[in-house]
């Protein structure tokens, strides 16, 4: 049998970026992602494969050694590992514990938006209070942006990570660019 030519990954909007004086938007690098579901009785067991205790307070997140866990619901976390190759090992480790682990690395894609106008640009489509009091760094939540669902995760005062299903990412980009025209 002839050698099989390896398929090439083509993540959406690879390398896309935009910046003006008040805002910078860029497509996040590929990462591995797992939708993790577990009941409260299973939490303790999960500490080992993850290397840290899952955040249990609504809207909070935890990051350690490139692995982040975002609280999305009372039994739901989004795990993001910056290393796209890390997925199989992590899935394997989770397989060993009682939980639901589903690979969604390709379902989602992410956009990083930062700059002094980031909050305003996001508030052009997101109805949430994004002030630092209500949505501090580390806070994460599923919410809406215009007509699509996103997961918004505040990395720092002026920087947000937005998770979105891949087919909605074009809409997200278009909207963010539209809203950025007069940012600042």
């Amino acid at each position: 049998m002839a050698k099989i030519k390896m398929a090439k990954a083509r993540p959406p909007h690879e390398g896309r970026r935009f910046a003006n004086s008040a805002i910078s938007i860029e497509q996040a690098l590929p990462a591995s992602r797992i939708s993790l579901r577990a009941g409260s009785n299973e939490l303790a067991e999960l500490t080992k494969p993850l290397g840290f205790k899952l955040p249990s307070k609504p809207g909070t997140s935890k990051t350690k050694s490139g692995l982040s866990a975002l609280w999305l619901g009372p039994d739901e976390w989004l795990l993001i590992n910056n290393d796209p190759q890390a997925i199989s090992k992590l899935m394997e480790n989770l397989d060993a514990v009682k939980c639901s682990n589903v690979d969604i690395s390709h379902r989602n894609t992410a956009i990083i938006i930062s700059g002094k106008a980031a909050e305003d640009v996001l508030n052009s489509g997101c109805p949430r209070d994004l002030s630092l009091d209500a949505f501090p760094p580390g806070f994460c939540s599923r919410t809406l942006f215009g007509k699509i669902e996103i997961i918004l995760w505040r990395l720092s005062e002026n920087s947000f990570h937005i998770e979105v299903w891949r087919s909605y990412s074009e809409y997200l980009w278009t909207f963010l660019l539209d809203a950025s025209k007069d940012a600042g």
Binding site: K5, M6, A7, D75, R107, N123, Y168, E170, K181, D182
Partner: protein, 1000 residues
């Protein structure tokens, strides 16, 4: 033209900053900071519009958003044209081009003004009483004439290239209105550390005190004080100041909508800026400081150009340096008009007389008037005015009767007192209370976290107002620094309803609602005709329904109706105030959601490949799906035939990515499926798949799809493309609220996987060289199985399944690899005839096999039995969602529509989808209504195609008791002919299914 009415030394504009503008083709000069109205008045132009019904010439009445008359069309270019813009709020910019409306051929000579002469024939509601004969004439004759006469401006004719934006905002305190009350409250709140938003509809903060030259606040003039206050606020981080921003809607839970006009005042707007921005503000508290609006007096011919609200004249003078006339009369019931007269007098304008309805206006006003040498007529009324395009004289008479005197004027100020602007309060669902002693409706019962302060709360005294504003803004209740007020002018005095001389016995045109031409007479007529509720009066006369929304007319209308009914004013009711406070541009509300952002467009990873191959796409929900792939010279029919043949003879490749996918995990996953689908799942082996049907409790088909068992506790579920979100929601609902005993989790994986269907006799040999770790042989991987392995070096869930009737595979790969794997498969297969096919060919292929499409062959009223899918119901299962529902009497009765196949007697005839079916050919098609003897329809065609493989047309149909009609002849009556069809089974091609296994 030069501005002859601009008075040096008056107003706040710089005479040096001149700009040009055009009105009705004439170029004029204005100043930076002018409104269109102030600039027109500076040039001596009063005549600005025509009324709606009588086409009476109308002048500029006000200096604010309540303007009913001076509405113009402003167009920057042919794509940027907007009708019905109030000249009184439109800021002037260099090159502004405005045109008057609702007149032909010109504003000064309007042909339709003939209506005015015919006014006796057009009282309120005249159109209900006539135009009834002949019956057909209404929409053919009368209505077009009425329509052409109605309407004000013209709709834009071209699409709008401008941008509109949105911003959601949250704050502790939203203050609507930046006059003295709003500014004071804002200062107090801001200093208390609250996060505040202060908005005002004007270009500058300050409100009514900006044109009060006498007022002193803390030793500063009003303008100085405003400047200082604004500077103080602007320096604070916790304050957002929004000018040119109207709070127009107050919704539930302190959600307030603001419209910001960002560029409408600019000569050359920066294209980066949105034209307008919608602010959607959620505030912990709302402070309403919306002020008050001066009412006009209702007297005979009170609508001539040159007749103006007193406060407007004062504002034009003190803010814009414009005198509205040289010889001005004043007609009032309110103190504030006297102050306007004094200011005009001081600026050198002759005041012909102050006519006050009251017998005893305040003495100090009278004294001051005498000092200035102004004639006072106390207890007088104006009974008449003259002048066609500009008022020329007024006739005055003592209220108790007596000699009528004619006084020449070139403008007339008038004031009936002030109406608190309770619109937003009322929109918040607060209840108003009538204060008989003050003739005012004021906020009484609050239902939201808000407070009214200042003039909108009836607080006209500046000292009281300051205290009220400070208390509202400062929750900590710390004693605020006192603010010293000197030389405030009085707003006391009110007249509501028709002035003497326009009473029930006077046959005069005294306008209540200017724009809609509603007179006091009309309101009385409405009451005589039985309209006893103010809502009826309003609808019958259209008072308060013009573009000014009754800001000037509501109180008068109410008072006149009350008088006619002999009732107290509050007993007649008050019309509800509805959003918006002032009209708001459609696109401001739609904002970003235009063009590509109107709705998201979902595309699969292989979309671009299909584009490159020339695919035509169809919309399926939010998705774009390749419909067919026409080659040069091919129409849809030819392309689809070719694609179908390729699949049947060789192989086709199809993008099935859009199908919904749900990963169901957990020890109870199989049991969960048992309860949600009609089929049994417990015994489905790992590595096998099954077609499943989902119902709701009502027993009708809700969705379907193939479900594969990946491991004992992990299933890969597919749904229809459009059904994916609602199926997920349906499952979550049962899982969370009903089947809480089950240990199961659901994850949407619709977009995790790109799905490449390869179907046809050559499918296996095409993909085999690319696959690793999976034995594709029929024995190892039979029809309806699933395996995990690798394709092109990447992980795959490979399904052996078919929606075409051919042997086929559906290759699921992580979406980033979709395009690359697709290309590899295509490269592999293309030399052997692998052909891309679209959704249309897919539909034909599946119909040839009798596979249903939920939503096309079922419509929400079809049970699995009806669809011929009884085999898919797990009869041994004690329960599943829909089991009880499908046993209801009508669902098991005879005569249900059941899915069958249809063969046309003439094989070349392809039925039309949706065509109805009858049992007997003798029925004739009824002509249009009436009289109609309806034909008894027993079913309809759900799917219909030309089958190239079979050489004849095929169709599926839902037909009453269809399952027992096989072989019968039925009829499809079309407009021009009746088509004979024979009922068949649903499967047309490869009846024994051998091809699924690569046989036949």
């Amino acid at each position: 033209m030069s501005a002859q009415n601009r008075i040096k030394g008056h107003g706040q504009l710089s005479l040096a900053k001149t700009i040009n503008f055009t009105f009705d083709g004439t170029t004029y000069q204005g100043l930076e900071g002018d409104t269109l109205a102030s600039a027109l008045l500076a040039n001596g132009v009063h005549l600005a519009g025509r009324s709606f019904k009588y086409h009476r010439p109308r002048g500029i009445l006000s200096a604010g958003p309540e303007e009913p008359n001076a509405l113009v069309n402003i167009a920057r270019d042919s794509t940027r044209s907007q009708p019905n813009i109030r000249a009184t709020v439109q800021e002037l910019y260099d090159g502004l081009t405005a045109e008057s409306q609702n007149r032909w051929p010109s504003l000064a000579f309007d042909f339709s003004a003939i209506n005015d002469g015919l006014a006796p024939f057009f009282p309120a509601g005249f159109y209900y009483k006539t135009f009834k004969w002949p019956p057909k004439a209404w929409d053919k004759l009368y209505e077009p004439i009425i329509r052409a006469a109605a309407g004000l401006g013209k709709s834009p004719a071209e699409a709008d290239p401008d941008r509109y934006a949105n911003r959601y905002a949250h704050c502790d305190v939203l203050i609507a209105g930046g006059g003295i009350a709003g500014l004071t409250a804002a200062l107090a709140a801001a200093k208390a550390g609250k996060k505040i938003i202060l908005c005002d509809e004007n270009p500058n903060f300050g409100g009514a005190i900006l044109y009060d030259n006498a007022l002193e606040i803390d030793g500063l003039s009003a303008t100085e004080w405003v400047e200082k206050a604004v500077a103080e606020l602007a320096a604070l981080e916790n304050v957002r100041l929004l000018t040119r921003t109207t709070a127009f809607g107050y919704y539930a839970q302190n959600f307030v909508a603001l419209a910001e006009r960002v560029t409408e005042h600019m000569a050359e707007p920066d294209p980066a800026l949105p034209r307008e921005r919608l602010w959607q503000v959620r505030a912990k508290e709302v402070i309403l400081a919306t002020g008050a609006i001066e009412r006009h007096l209702v007297f005979a011919d009170n609508d001539r150009p040159g007749i103006m609200l007193a406060s407007a004249a004062q504002k034009y003078l003190n803010q814009y340096g414009v005198a509205i006339g040289a010889n001005v009369g004043v007609f009032t019931a309110c103190d504030s008009a006297w102050a306007a007269a004094f200011d005009l007098k001081k600026a050198g304008v002759n005041i012909a007389a102050i006519v006050d309805l009251r017998d005893n206006p305040p003495l100090e006003l009278q004294e001051k008037a005498q000092t200035c040498g102004i004639r006072i007529l106390r207890g007088y009324t104006v009974t008449k005015t003259s002048g066609r395009l500009r008022v020329q004289s007024i006739s005055v008479q003592p209220i108790n009767g007596g000699t009528v005197e004619q006084i020449r004027v070139d403008a007339l100020l008038n004031s009936a007192g002030w109406t608190p602007s309770v619109h937003l309060f009322s929109q918040s669902r607060g209840k108003l209370k009538w204060h008989q002693d003050r003739d005012l409706f004021l906020p009484d019962i609050y239902v939201q976290d808000c407070i009214s302060i200042g003039a909108c709360n009836g607080t006209f005294d500046e000292n009281e107002l300051i205290a009220e504003a400070q208390a509202a803004g400062n929750a900590t209740r710390k004693k605020a620094k006192a603010i010293r007020i000197e030389n405030q002018s009085s707003w006391a005095g009110n007249a509501i309803g028709a002035a003497p001389g326009a009473g029930p016995s006077d046959n005069v045109k005294a306008f209540v609602d200017f724009q809609n031409d509603v007179t006091a007479k009309d309101i009385r007529l409405a009451v005589r005709e039985g309209m006893h509720s103010i809502e009826h009066v309003k609808r019958f006369t259209t008072t308060g329904m013009a573009t000014d929304q009754g800001k000037l007319s509501n109180m008068h209308g109410l008072a006149i109706a009350a008088e006619q009914l002999g009732k107290n004013l509050p007993d007649v009711g008050l019309t509800t105030f509805r959003a918006p406070y002032t009209p708001v541009t459609f696109s401001t509300i739609a904002n970003h959601a235009r063009g590509p952002l109107f709705d998201p467009t979902r595309k699969t990873p292989m979309h671009q490949w299909a584009v490159d191959k020339g695919a035509v796409f169809e919309d399926v929900g939010p998705w774009k799906r390749a419909w067919y792939f026409p080659k040069a010279g091919e129409d849809m029919h030819a392309a689809v035939n070719r694609e179908c043949v390729a699949v049947r003879k060789k192989a086709g490749i199809f993008d099935a990515t859009t199908l919904g996918k749900i990963e169901i995990t957990g020890p109870d996953a199989a049991e969960f499926l048992n309860r949600l689908y009609t089929n049994p799942w417990t015994k489905l082996g790992v590595g096998r798949c099954r077609y499943g049907i989902m119902c709701r409790e009502d027993g009708f088909i809700y969705d379907d799809g193939v479900i594969g068992r990946i491991t004992d506790d992990r299933f890969h579920v597919t749904t229809t493309t459009g059904g994916a979100p609602r199926v997920m929601n349906h499952m979550e609902d049962y899982l969370q609220t009903e089947f809480t005993d089950l240990d199961v989790h659901l994850t949407s994986t619709s977009e995790q996987w790109a799905v490449i269907a390869v179907q046809g006799p050559l499918a296996r040999e095409i993909i085999e060289p690319l696959v690793e770790g999976i034995d594709l042989s029929h024995e190892a991987m039979p029809h309806m199985s699933v395996r995990e392995g690798k394709i092109c070096g990447v992980p795959t869930r490979l399904f052996r399944m078919s929606f075409t009737g051919e042997m086929g595979f559906e290759i699921n790969v992580p979406a980033d690899y979709g395009e690359s794997v697709w290309q590899a498969v295509y490269a592999q297969g293309e030399p052997r005839g692998l052909t891309p096919y679209g959704t249309e060919a897919m539909h034909v292929l599946r119909a040839e096999k009798g596979y249903i499409i939920v939503g096309q062959d079922t419509d929400g009223t079809v049970t699995p039995h009806d669809a011929g899918l009884s085999w898919a119901i797990g009869k041994a299962k004690p329960d599943f969602v829909g089991k009880r529902g499908m046993r209801r009497p009508d669902l098991v009765a005879e005569g249900r529509r059941q899915l069958v196949g249809l063969r046309t007697k003439n094989p070349k005839v392809v039925l039309e989808e949706g065509a109805q079916i009858v049992a007997t050919p003798g029925q004739t098609v009824p002509p249009a209504i009436p009289p109609a003897i309806p034909m008894k329809m027993i079913g309809f065609v759900t799917s219909s195609y030309w089958s190239e493989a079979l050489g004849h047309s095929i169709a599926l149909a839902l037909v009453e008791d269809g399952h027992s009609l096989e072989g019968d002849t039925l009829y499809v009556p079309m407009e021009d002919r009746t088509i004979e069809v024979e009922v068949s089974g649903c499967v047309f091609y490869d009846l024994d299914g051998g091809r699924l296994n690569g046989k036949n």
